[in-house]
Amino acid sequence: METTETPIVRAEGLKKTFTLSQKQQKLEKTAAKRKVAVDDLSFSAYRGEIYGLLGPNGAGKTTTLRILSTLIRPDAGDAFVDGCSVLKEGEKVRDKIGFMTSELKLEGFFTPSYLFDFFGAMHGVEKGALAARKQELFSRFGIDRFAEVKVSDLSTGMLQKVSLVVAIVHDPEVVIFDEPTNGLDVLTAKVVTDFLLELKRMGKSILLSTHIFSLVEKLCDRVGIIIDGKMAAEGTLEELCGGSSLEDKFFEIYDAVKGEAV
């Protein structure tokens, strides 16, 4: 794998604490009013690689990615995307990233073609460049066949393709993807994984979060294992696993961190 020494995404001592509502306290079976979601988390992702944040539900993966995409602010620490601080240069950071999560939806009333143009304008992409990019991406991912069909009338697979393409309308250097295949059927999941590999071929840097071992093994160049908001281990798959499977290694680390077997 080819990387340079300058990380394109750098997280430094990120910390994020949430206040729990009474309902959340009941759900989490805790009397504590605050929960530390991310605790002094640091890592680096390099240009041109796919970096995976692996961890169980509630480990702090989504919170970390939301901090990186400037949707939420860390209580302490900072993160940098291509040298821009998420705390001080939010707008610049948002122009450098494409953020994908199942929570971000597209208005069903509009067509893929219109939404592509709209989000292009939101990122300040110049009209001529936008038209050329639309033609390129729509034909590459087969969206041109349904470019003028309302989003609400598209199949899940088609919709997923449109969401992916809209997220990279502004040709970002970094694509951040929260649980890319969560809740998707096998065909749509393949659309997503193929898309990520295609992005990598295009030279993009990708940061994704997942709890699926096979996805990490298939896609990621390097992986960071998050448990209870802390970085428990980080490295390439070879460095981390040393011959054993990722799943076995993960539970070995998990047991060591938690001090108990799963």
Partner: protein, 386 residues
């Protein structure tokens, strides 16, 4: 460019959806037709061309003369000697009504002493309320008989001379009624017009997750807030205009007056101020609702908040109708200032200062709400809190 694209999106979302256009224009059209119809029913009721074939049992030349004098050629009186047969004919519907006078009615009425304790002479009208002509004759006859009874024991008259007593012109009457009602109606209509559009566009987008998709782009939060408030204000203003025209055009019909001349008596400047007041209150309400919708987690939650505010605004605008002599300080109160200014314009008062202050207050509060919305769009607790 970003703000322009945001605004275009709102317009496109609205004007490409026939259902939404219908919800915008329909209230005005419905108001016009319903009010016109109500006015027509109220004022045309007495003017229908019925013919009354009425049987008379007994005799009262005086009353019959009153009937014939008032109902003219539409009335045909036929004498009958058989009361029961007359009743049967009314029941069968072959005649309009039967009027039965007690014996020697006119003389008995003339010599009747209410203090004597004996029963008064009687007129009995047999009719069928389900039959329109019959019911109409009954109403006319009872009214005429009551008037006739009044003239028999006449002690004094009020305004019975032929001259003009009410020196208000028709347009002044219309304006007095409009002045009281219109501000309330205008504010209520603007409010409901804004509510249907804004809640769906802001709280709806937040609930569906499409607003978050815009938040991860590099567009400024202020642009997102402006990109909602400006186009939604234009759309809501169109909806309010539709309802306003519906009311303004149907109101004279509702009150049985002709429209001619009503709208030309005010100076052009008054209309300009009126328009500016209405135009300035729309973004105020839209921006307030945008702020509420941004805060709310769902359309349902937002509509329950705005429901409360709507009641407060309605009460404010209604209360001002009954309050006279409020000082000019009222212009500084959002909504209430506008309502009072509109009211004063319609009543013909001099209101330039009050109007201008009300407009300035509306715009200042709009800016405040846009600022608050932009801040909330940047708040993770409000935008992404569970």
């Amino acid at each position: 460019m970003k703000l322009k694209a945001l605004m275009q999106k709102e317009f496109r979302r609205f004007f490409r959806d026939p259902k939404l256009i219908v919800t915008l224009v329909l209230p005005g059209i419905l108001i016009y037709f319903i009010y016109s119809l109500m006015g027509g029913l109220i004022w045309d009721a007495g003017a229908s061309d019925y013919t009354y074939n009425v049987l008379v049992y007994g005799s009262s030349p005086a009353v019959e003369a009153v009937f014939e004098g008032s109902l003219g050629e539409s009335l045909t009186l036929t004498r009958t000697e058989d009361l029961e047969d007359g009743k049967a004919q009314v029941q069968a519907g072959s005649i309009t009504a039967l009027v039965a006078f007690s014996e020697d009615f006119d003389n008995a009425v003339g010599s009747y002493d209410p203090m004597s304790g004996t029963p008064a002479p009687q007129v009995e009208i047999y009719y069928r309320s389900a039959d329109e002509a019959s019911a109409s004759f009954y109403s006319a006859a009872t009214a005429l008989l009551a008037a006739y009874e009044g003239t028999i024991s006449n002690a004094f008259d009020v305004n019975l001379g032929g001259g003009q007593y009410d020196f208000s012109s028709t347009s002044e009457v219309v304006m007095a009624i409009l002045g009281g009602l219109l501000p309330f109606l205008v504010v209520t209509l603007i409010f409901s017009s804004c509510m249907s559009i804004t809640l769906e566009s802001v709280a709806g987008e937040k609930e569906r997750g499409t607003l978050a998709t815009i938040l991860v782009t590099s567009v400024r939060r202020t642009d997102i807030a402006l990109g909602k408030v400006l186009p939604l204000s234009c759309i809501a203003a169109l909806g309010a205009l539709s309802s306003f025209l519906g009311i303004a055009l149907s109101m004279p019909k509702l009150m049985g007056l002709e429209l001619g001349g009503v709208f030309v008596e005010h100076a052009f400047g008054d209309y300009l101020l009126l328009l500016a007041l209405i135009v300035s209150i729309v973004p105020l309400i839209v921006s307030a609702m945008t702020a509420i919708s941004t805060y709310a987690k769902s359309v349902k939650e937002a509509s329950s908040y705005t429901g409360v505010i709507m009641i407060v605004v309605m009460v404010l605008s209604l209360v001002s109708t009954f309050l006279s002599g409020i000082g000019d300080w009222v212009a500084a109160v959002p909504v209430l200032g506008t309502v009072v200014a509109v009211q004063r314009i319609l009543e013909g008062g001099v209101v330039l200062l009050v109007g201008l202050i009300a407009i300035a207050v509306n715009l200042a509060f709009t800016a405040l709400f846009i600022f608050v919305t932009a801040r909330m769009l940047g708040s993770e607790r409000i935008m992404f809190g569970k």
